[in-house]
C-alpha cells in the first residue's frame, strides 16, 4: 500500500482522515484486538494498517 496521505502529521503517526492506511489491513487469524491507544482494532470495515486505528 502506498500513496498519500499516511499520517496525521509530523509527531502524530496515527492515520490521517482519508489515509490510504484506513480499513486496508488484511485479516489475520491471531491478530491483535486493540491498537496502541487501547482502541478496538477494527473501527471500520477492516482494521487500519499500522500501530494505530483511526477513531473518531
Amino acid at each position: 500500500v502506498s500513496g498519500f496521505p499516511f499520517f496525521r502529521g509530523a509527531g502524530d503517526l496515527r492515520p490521517a482522515v482519508g489515509s490510504v492506511l484506513v480499513d486496508r489491513a488484511v485479516q489475520l487469524e491471531d491478530g491483535p484486538s486493540r491498537d496502541l491507544d487501547g482502541n478496538p482494532r477494527t473501527a471500520g470495515a477492516s482494521a487500519d494498517i499500522g500501530a494505530y486505528e483511526l477513531v473518531y
Binding site: 500500500v1 502506498s2 500513496g3 498519500f4 496521505p5 499516511f6 499520517f7 496525521r8 502529521g9 509530523a10 509527531g11 502524530d12 503517526l13 490521517a16 482522515v17 482519508g18 490510504v20 492506511l21 486496508r24 489491513a25 488484511v26 489475520l28 491471531d30 491478530g31 491483535p32 486493540r34 491498537d35 496502541l36 491507544d37 487501547g38 482502541n39 478496538p40 482494532r41 473501527a43 482494521a47 494498517i49 499500522g50 500501530a51 494505530y52 477513531v55 473518531y56
Partner: protein
C-alpha cells in the same frame, strides 16, 4: 503541497483529492458541532482555527465520524473524551485491563487488617472518572491512581484485595459508566504481608507497626507466597534474590501505594541478581514499581519472573549485555520505561536469550507495553548463544531513538513468535559503522524453522545512523518463516528495505510503504 513526510500546517490536512494538497478539515467534537462552531479542538493537529463565516458543521447529536458543514466541506465529528465512536454514534468507552502486577494474593493482612489484603496494581485504559474494581466478585478499596501519557498510554489503579473476595481462582474487573472491562485472572490465596522502611529495624517482626529496615533482611525471611512492601520511598543499592517462589506462590516486592522503591546504582554486579546459594537461578518473583538506576546490568529475569510497571535508567558507559536479561520460561516484562544512556555498543534494554550451556528449549515470554528511549544497541534483542528460545510475544512497545534496531531477532530462535502493534521511531540512529541500523531486524539463520508473525507495527524514520550498514526500516535475513503484514514503514531518503535483505515469497502482505517504492514482493498478485 504535501505528502510523503511533508506535513501540512496546523490548519490543514493532506488530502488525496488534492493530489497531495493541503485542505482545511476542521475536526469538530460532536457537542461543539451542535452548539457552537467555535468549539474546535484547539489541541488537534488538524486544528482549523476559527471556522469560515457562515460555515457551520452539521454534526448530529451524539453522532461521530465523517460529516459535512453548511458549506459542503468535509468535517470530522469527534466524540468527547471518555467516549468512543461506534457505528456512527458516541458511546462511553469500555474500560480495558492490560495486566496486573500480582496474579494472586491474600484477602487479609494489609496493616494487619481482616478486611484488606494484598495491594494489587492493574494497568489499562479508559478507566473513567469513578471506576469500581472487583476481585472475585467483591468490590475493592482503591488506594491510588495514576496515568502516564505514553506512548503507550497507560492508566493504573492500585487497590486492596477485599476481605469479602471469594477464595480460589477468579478475576479482576473494572466497571466504569456501567460498562465492565475484560477479566484479568487472579487467585485469592493465603500469604503473609511484610513491610520495610528505613525507619524500621531488622529486629522487628516485619509488620506494619514493626517494619524491617533492610530489603535484604526481608528477602532472607521470605517463603513462597510472601509479599514484601516497601514504605517511605526507601532506596537500596542492590537486591539479591537468593531464594525462589513457586509458580502458584511467587514472592513479590513492591512499594506501598503512592510510595517509591529506588534501587542502584550497583558498584559491582547487576542491581538485581537472581541466584540461589548453590548457583542455580532463583525463580518466580514479582517485581513491581521499581525505580532502578544502573551502570551495568539492571536485572536478571529468570523463570517465572514478572517485572512490571518499573523504570530503568542506564548510565553512559554502562557495561554488560542488557538492562534486563531474560532467561528461562514464563518471563514477563510489562509496562516499564527504559531510559538508555550511551552504554556499550551491544547493550540492549531487554535481551531475551537462552541459558548458557543448555540445550533445553526455553520460552513463553511477554515483552509488552514498555517504552524505550535512546541507547546504543538494539532496544529489544531476542537471540541466544545458549538454549534455543521460543514463543516470544512482543507487543505494544514504543521505542524511540535506539542506536541499533528497535526489535532484533537473531540466532537460535525456534518455534512461534509474535511482534504486534509496536511503535518504532528513529531506530538505528547509532554511530557504529559496523552495526545494524535497521528499524526491525530478523536474521534467524538459514537453517532456522522459527515462525515470526510481524503485524500492525509502525516504523518511522529508521536507519538514520551515519554508518549506513543495513540502513532501512527493516532488514530481512535468510531462514525461518516471516509473516510481515499490515505494518507501516516510512522513511525519507533511505531505503525502506535494507540492502542485503532476503525477499520473502511475493504476496499481498498489505504493508504500508511511505518514502520509497513498495518492494515487488509486497504487491497484490
Amino acid at each position: 503541497l504535501c505528502g510523503a513526510l511533508v506535513a501540512c500546517s496546523g490548519r490543514c490536512s493532506c488530502l488525496p483529492s488534492f493530489g497531495g494538497g493541503c485542505e482545511d478539515i476542521p475536526i469538530v467534537r460532536s457537542d461543539a458541532g451542535r452548539r457552537d462552531a467555535g468549539g474546535l479542538d484547539a489541541g488537534s493537529s488538524f486544528d482549523a482555527g476559527p471556522p469560515d463565516a457562515g460555515c457551520t458543521p452539521l454534526c448530529d447529536p451524539l453522532a461521530c465520524g465523517p460529516g459535512r458543514d453548511t458549506c459542503g466541506r468535509e468535517v470530522l465529528c469527534e466524540c468527547e473524551p471518555g467516549s468512543e465512536c461506534g457505528e456512527g454514534t458516541c458511546r462511553p468507552r469500555a474500560p480495558v485491563l492490560y495486566f496486573s502486577d500480582l496474579t494472586s494474593g491474600p484477602r487479609t493482612g494489609w496493616e494487619g487488617s481482616d478486611t484488606l489484603g494484598a495491594a494489587v496494581t492493574v494497568w489499562g485504559r479508559h478507566f473513567g472518572a469513578s471506576p469500581e474494581v472487583r476481585v472475585n466478585g467483591a468490590v475493592a478499596e482503591i488506594a491510588h491512581r495514576a496515568t502516564s501519557e505514553g506512548p503507550p498510554p497507560l492508566e493504573r489503579i492500585t487497590f486492596f484485595v477485599p476481605g469479602a473476595a471469594l477464595d480460589g481462582p477468579g478475576s479482576i474487573t473494572i466497571e466504569s459508566s456501567t460498562i465492565v472491562s475484560n477479566e484479568l485472572p487472579f487467585t485469592v490465596r493465603d500469604g503473609r504481608i511484610f513491610y520495610v522502611t528505613f525507619l524500621g529495624s531488622d529486629d522487628f517482626d516485619g509488620s506494619w507497626m514493626y517494619p524491617w529496615q533492610n530489603l535484604s533482611h526481608a528477602v532472607a525471611q521470605a517463603v513462597p507466597g510472601d509479599l514484601i512492601y516497601v514504605r517511605d520511598d526507601a532506596a537500596f543499592r542492590t537486591l539479591e534474590l537468593d531464594r525462589s517462589g513457586t509458580a502458584e506462590l511467587p514472592i513479590a516486592i513492591a512499594p506501598v501505594p503512592g510510595s517509591t522503591l529506588v534501587l542502584g546504582p550497583s558498584t559491582s554486579s547487576a542491581v538485581i541478581t537472581s541466584m540461589l546459594p548453590g548457583g542455580s537461578p532463583a525463580e518466580h518473583w514479582v517485581l513491581s514499581g521499581l525505580r532502578v538506576t544502573s551502570t551495568g546490568e539492571c536485572a536478571d529475569a529468570r523463570t517465572g519472573f514478572r517485572i512490571v510497571g518499573s523504570s530503568f535508567r542506564v548510565a553512559d558507559e554502562a557495561t554488560g549485555a542488557a538492562c534486563v536479561v531474560v532467561t528461562g520460561d514464563g518471563v514477563d516484562v510489562l509496562g516499564s520505561a527504559f531510559v538508555m544512556g550511551a552504554a556499550a555498543r551491544d547493550y540492549a534494554a531487554i535481551a531475551a536469550r537462552g541459558t548458557a550451556g543448555s540445550l533445553v528449549p526455553e520460552g513463553d515470554r511477554e515483552l509488552a507495553y514498555n517504552q524505550v528511549r535512546g541507547g546504543t544497541g538494539a532496544a529489544i534483542r531476542i537471540a541466544s548463544d545458549g538454549a534455543p528460545i521460543a514463543d516470544h510475544f512482543v507487543h505494544d512497545n514504543a521505542i524511540f531513538d535506539s542506536g541499533g534496531p528497535a526489535i532484533a531477532f537473531g540466532a537460535n530462535v525456534a518455534g512461534d513468535h509474535r511482534v504486534f502493534t509496536n511503535l518504532v521511531v528513529r531506530a538505528g540512529s547509532g554511530a557504529s559503522a559496523d552495526a545494524s541500523h535497521a528499524g526491525l531486524r530478523f536474521d534467524l539463520g538459514a537453517s532456522s524453522t522459527a515462525r515470526v508473525s510481524v503485524a500492525f507495527n509502525t516504523v518511522y524514520d529508521a536507519g538514520a545512523g551515519p554508518g549506513a550498514l543495513e540502513s532501512g526500516a527493516i532488514f530481512l535475513g535468510p531462514g525461518g518463516e516471516l509473516i510481515l503484514s499490515n505494518n507501516v514503514f516510512a522513511s525519507e531518503g533511505r531505503p525502506l528495505v535494507a540492502d542485503g535483505s532476503t525477499a520473502p515469497p511475493p504476496n499481498d502482505y498489505r504493508n504500508g510503504w511511505l518514502g520509497d517504492d513498495a518492494p515487488l514482493w509486497d504487491r497484490a498478485p
